[in-house]
Each structure stands twice: as structure tokens, then as C-alpha cells.
């Protein structure tokens, strides 16, 4: 009974978080380019010549990816979907299904703009996946564990944002690439007619909207877990702290993203290879040195 209650609480809290994200995201945007947050057509449209298996599978894969990845995010000291030993690695792997979903939808709908969106999102995957891994290695090194609850409890004395500011900056940038928001919204940009979003109408479009907003919410939540100490905090209950930190990271991500020039996919790859990967390697070296000096690591 307790398990069912906590499961219901987890599902409710994540649904509420996604809905709040959908509501507040237009308020944070200052440009016309809304990218993945733009509205899909209201009527139930269907492409003329789709690969119907892939086209219909895509929104389901996207929603399943978002839901399965949110399992390992701890909301409170005793409230989490599952606390598995390789939690963080699981999160990084499962969230890549979103790219698969966009590729399926883009190829399946068989419209030139959406196929272009499919190509560009795969190139974006190549751009972000290595620096993202290098950014999250820092907390894993200091906590000596990949379990999300262990990472939070190892931050009881010092948050990792203090000891690893470079890692946090890398996580924010690669997180923006991962959720396809402001400077990195090439696959969903206006010149591609919003990519796959314009080919899905009705309830399928709403499924896309939920999963593309939910991924922003859970990536921000994972940022709060990794660098801001998750649910830990004085006076208020744990899940309130978690919500505050999550939305702080979310607003920071959107705020930084709105202030940058939009980058094309080629520029993203250039940024990744020339700046982010060297910075990530430097971050790993710095964290190793800090651990040897006795900061953070126990």
C-alpha cells in the first residue's frame, strides 16, 4: 500500500511539474522563436504519405522516455521512484530516447522540413553527449557513487556548485542542448516550420508538447540534484526545496538561453568540439585535484 501511495505521489508531482513548466515557459520567452514549446496545429492532421508505424510510434516513445527517466529523480528523503545503483547513468541513457523519438517522427511523417529536423537532431546528439558526460562525471567522482540519493547526501556539507562551478556551467549549456531550448533550437526552428511539431496535430501534438516540456523539467531537476543538493534544506519539507531548486535551475537555463544568439547545428558541433570538451576534461582534472586536496570527497 505504501509503495502504491508513494508511486502515485511521484507521478502526481512530476505531472504537476510538467504542467507548471508548460505554463511558465511562454512567460520566460522574449523572442518569436519558441522552438519545442510552440503550439502544434489544433485539428487532428495526418501527413499525406507517412511511414505510419514510425509516425505513430514517435510520440509514445517520447512520452515513455520522459516518464522512464524521471523514475530515478529523488523528490524527498524517502520519496523516489527507484534508487538504483547506476541511477545517474540510467538517466543519461534513457533520456536519449527523446532523440530517437524525434528521429522516428521526422522520418515517419515524410515531410521535407521534418526529415531535416530528424537529421539535425541526430547531429545535435553527437554535439552534446560527450560534454554532458564530462559534466556529470564531477559529482560522481566526489560522491563516489552513481546513485542519486548518495549524491545528495554527500552534498550535506558543501553543494557541488561551490566546488565545481565549471561543471555546473557545462551542465547548463549541455542541458540546453539536450532539451533543444533557446540557443540550440535548430531542429525546431521557424525556418524548418517548427520541425516535427507542425506535422503532428490534435492529441498527438499535445503528447509532443507534454514530453518536450517534461524533458526540460526533469533535466532541470537533475541539475538541482547534481549541483544544488536536491531536497536537502532547512525548515521547509524536502519536496518544497526540491521544487524551488528545480525551478531556479529551469529559470536560469531559460534566462541564459534567451540572451544568446541562435546557433546552427554546425556551430553547435564547433562549440562542442572546440570549447566544451576541452573544458569538460579540464573540469575532470580540477575535480580530481580537489579530491586529492581533500575538498568535498570523503
Amino acid at each position: 500500500m505504501g509503495i502504491i501511495l508513494s508511486l502515485a505521489a511521484v507521478i502526481l508531482l512530476f505531472s504537476a511539474g510538467t504542467l507548471i513548466t508548460i505554463l511558465i515557459e511562454p512567460m520566460l520567452s522574449t523572442t518569436d522563436e519558441e522552438g519545442p514549446a510552440s503550439n502544434s496545429p489544433k485539428n487532428n492532421i495526418y501527413p499525406v504519405h507517412p511511414d505510419s508505424w514510425l509516425y505513430n510510434a514517435a510520440p509514445a516513445v517520447a512520452l515513455a522516455s520522459m516518464a522512464a527517466a524521471s523514475v530515478v529523480i529523488p523528490i524527498d528523503k524517502s520519496l523516489a521512484g527507484a534508487d538504483i545503483g547506476i541511477g545517474l547513468f540510467y538517466f543519461i541513457v534513457i533520456i536519449d530516447y527523446m532523440v530517437l523519438a524525434v528521429a522516428l517522427g521526422g522520418w515517419g511523417s515524410n515531410v521535407p522540413e521534418s526529415i531535416e529536423s530528424c537529421y539535425r537532431i541526430i547531429a545535435q546528439l553527437v554535439a552534446y553527449v560527450v560534454p554532458l558526460g564530462l559534466a556529470v562525471i564531477g559529482p560522481i567522482m566526489m560522491a563516489k557513487s552513481m546513485s542519486t540519493q548518495n549524491i545528495i547526501s554527500s552534498q550535506s556539507s558543501l553543494w557541488y556548485i561551490v566546488s565545481q562551478p565549471l561543471g555546473f556551467a557545462l551542465y547548463i549549456i549541455t542541458g540546453l542542448m539536450q532539451v533543444y531550448r533557446a540557443p540550440f533550437l535548430e531542429p525546431f526552428s521557424n525556418i524548418l516550420n517548427n520541425g516535427i511539431i507542425s506535422t503532428y496535430g490534435g492529441w498527438r501534438g499535445k503528447l509532443w508538447r507534454i514530453s518536450l516540456s517534461g524533458i526540460l523539467f526533469i533535466v532541470a531537476a537533475m541539475g538541482a540534484v547534481l549541483f544544488l543538493g536536491g531536497w536537502s534544506g532547512p525548515l521547509l519539507p524536502g519536496f518544497v526545496w526540491m521544487a524551488i531548486k528545480t525551478f531556479a535551475v529551469l529559470i536560469l537555463m531559460k534566462w541564459i538561453g534567451q540572451r544568446m544568439k541562435l546557433l546552427s547545428t554546425a556551430r553547435m558541433l564547433e562549440l562542442s568540439w572546440k570549447i566544451l570538451i576541452p573544458a569538460g576534461l579540464l573540469n575532470v582534472l580540477i575535480v580530481g585535484g580537489l579530491i586529492l586536496m581533500g575538498v568535498g570527497g570523503k
Binding site: W53, D96, L100
Partner: protein, 264 residues
């Protein structure tokens, strides 16, 4: 049988089905993109089997490799050959399995035929006949003669494995609980006992990347002179037909202006 065991058997059935059906779809579908996706599904089913055997890290590694790797592979495949097969093949005669795994590639409504049937001009009918003829040609070329042999070999191997399993059912099962912190254990092994192999693999990959970049950049000394030869020849465009109207850019505007001035 308690609930846990039942769930385990159910999960095994689901993952085994995904991996076998994915492999079958990969070999029989007519669309290259679908073929790659089916292969990915098959590997993800195998990853599920790893997780059932409590090798969660191995399962996750398998998924990570095959989502990113397979998507990039499909991208290159499609960019180089532009998905032959696909919807063009879906309308031809096929055996049951190929028809099933290629279903849904067909257009929902036959728009071209409907629009053409309204104008019953000779030209359109000829075009439709030509299309059908081309499909027939494709029909013949798509069926590889080796496919039945491959299917028979696969079936034989499967039967041998099933027979082995039935004849020698006493497989050793160790009553052993795997290490919960398997990532730590694997990391220690990779950096301790198997360090030379691990670092050697890293060096090989680095050399591979270096070699690929070196081959891709334009060199000063190509190994063959033919490399510099153009692969296509610039052909002179054919002469334009005589045009009775004088081209616009040949008209001298100044002269025209002066003429009109004179007339005034």
C-alpha cells in the same frame, strides 16, 4: 509460482519477443530506415535480457551504444543512398513476412491515380503503364537469390540450439547473488587487472580517429595521380535554337533614347 517469478517470466517473454521480432523485421522490411530501427529494437531487447540477469550496467551500456550509434549509422546510410525501397517497394508482390513488416509504407490514399483518372488523356495512361513496368523491374531485382539459403541456415542453427537445450537440460545454475555495486567492481577491474587491455583499446581508438582525420584532409602528395583527375567532365552546353526576338541585353538603351529624341 509467486508474483515475482511470474513477472520475471512475463518480462523474459516480452524481451525475447522484441529481440526476435526485431531481427526478423530487420531482414525482411523494404525500408532501410525501418531496417535500422528494427535492428536497434532487437539490441534493446537483448539489453532487457541483460537486465533480467541482474547485469544492469551491461544492459544500460548496450542501450547507450545502440541508440546513439545506430541513429548516426542510419543517418549516414540514408544520406549516402537515400532510402531505396521504402514506399516504392511497398506496392509490389511480396511474401507474407515481407509484406507484414513493410505494411504502412503504402500511401493512405492513391492520390496520383485518382487525380489522373479524371483526365482520361492518352498521355497519362501511358505514364501509368510505364510506372507499373518500372515496378515490375524492381520486383525482379529486389529479391536476392541467397535469402532462402540464409533463412534455412538460420532455422537449422536455431533447431540445433533448441535440441541441445532439450537433450542436456542440466545446465549448471549457480545460486549466486551478483554484486549490487557492479559499476565500482567493473571500474576496479578495468583500471587494475585489465589495465593494459583497456589502455591499449583506448590507444587503438585514438589512432583510428587520427587516421580517419588524416585520410579525410586534402594532402599535398596524393598516392595516385588519378586522385587529382576530375570525376566528371564539364560538357559544353548545346547551342541555343535561333530566337527571332532580339535579346533584351543587346538593345542599346542610349541609342533608343536618342532615336526617340530625334523623332520628337
Amino acid at each position: 509460482m509467486n508474483l515475482g517469478e511470474a513477472a520475471q517470466i512475463f518480462a523474459f517473454g516480452v524481451f525475447a519477443f522484441i529481440s526476435i521480432a526485431g531481427a526478423l523485421g530487420m531482414t525482411t522490411t523494404m525500408s532501410m530506415f525501418r531496417s535500422g530501427i528494427f535492428l536497434m529494437a532487437s539490441f534493446i531487447g537483448v539489453a532487457g535480457l541483460f537486465i533480467l540477469l541482474m547485469a544492469d550496467l551491461l544492459g544500460m551500456l548496450q542501450i547507450m551504444m545502440y541508440i546513439g550509434g545506430m541513429l548516426v549509422m542510419i543517418l549516414f546510410m540514408v544520406l549516402f543512398s537515400n532510402d531505396p525501397g521504402g514506399d516504392m517497394m511497398a506496392s509490389m508482390k511480396m511474401p507474407f513476412l515481407e509484406r507484414f513488416f513493410s505494411s504502412g509504407l503504402l500511401p493512405q490514399k492513391k492520390i496520383h491515380r485518382d487525380s489522373h483518372s479524371h483526365h482520361n488523356s492518352r498521355n497519362n495512361n501511358n505514364q501509368a503503364d510505364k510506372d507499373e513496368g518500372m515496378n515490375m523491374g524492381m520486383d525482379m531485382s529486389m529479391f536476392t537469390s541467397l535469402k532462402p539459403y540464409a533463412a534455412w541456415i538460420g532455422l537449422t542453427v536455431t533447431i540445433v540450439f533448441v535440441l541441445l537445450f532439450l537433450l542436456f537440460p542440466d545446465w549448471p545454475v549457480k545460486n549466486f547473488i551478483p554484486d549490487q555495486d557492479s559499476s565500482h567492481r567493473i571500474g576496479m577491474l578495468l583500471m587494475g587487472k585489465y589495465m593494459m587491455a583497456f589502455e591499449g583499446a583506448g590507444l587503438m581508438i585514438l589512432l583510428g580517429i587520427y587516421g580517419a582525420i588524416y585520410l579525410a584532409r586534402p594532402g599535398k602528395h596524393p598516392d595516385s595521380k588519378d586522385r587529382n583527375d576530375p570525376s566528371s567532365i564539364n560538357e559544353e552546353p548545346p547551342q541555343a535554337a535561333e530566337d527571332p526576338i532580339e535579346p533584351f541585353y543587346n538593345i542599346n538603351l542610349k541609342e533608343l533614347y536618342e532615336k526617340s529624341e530625334d523623332e520628337k
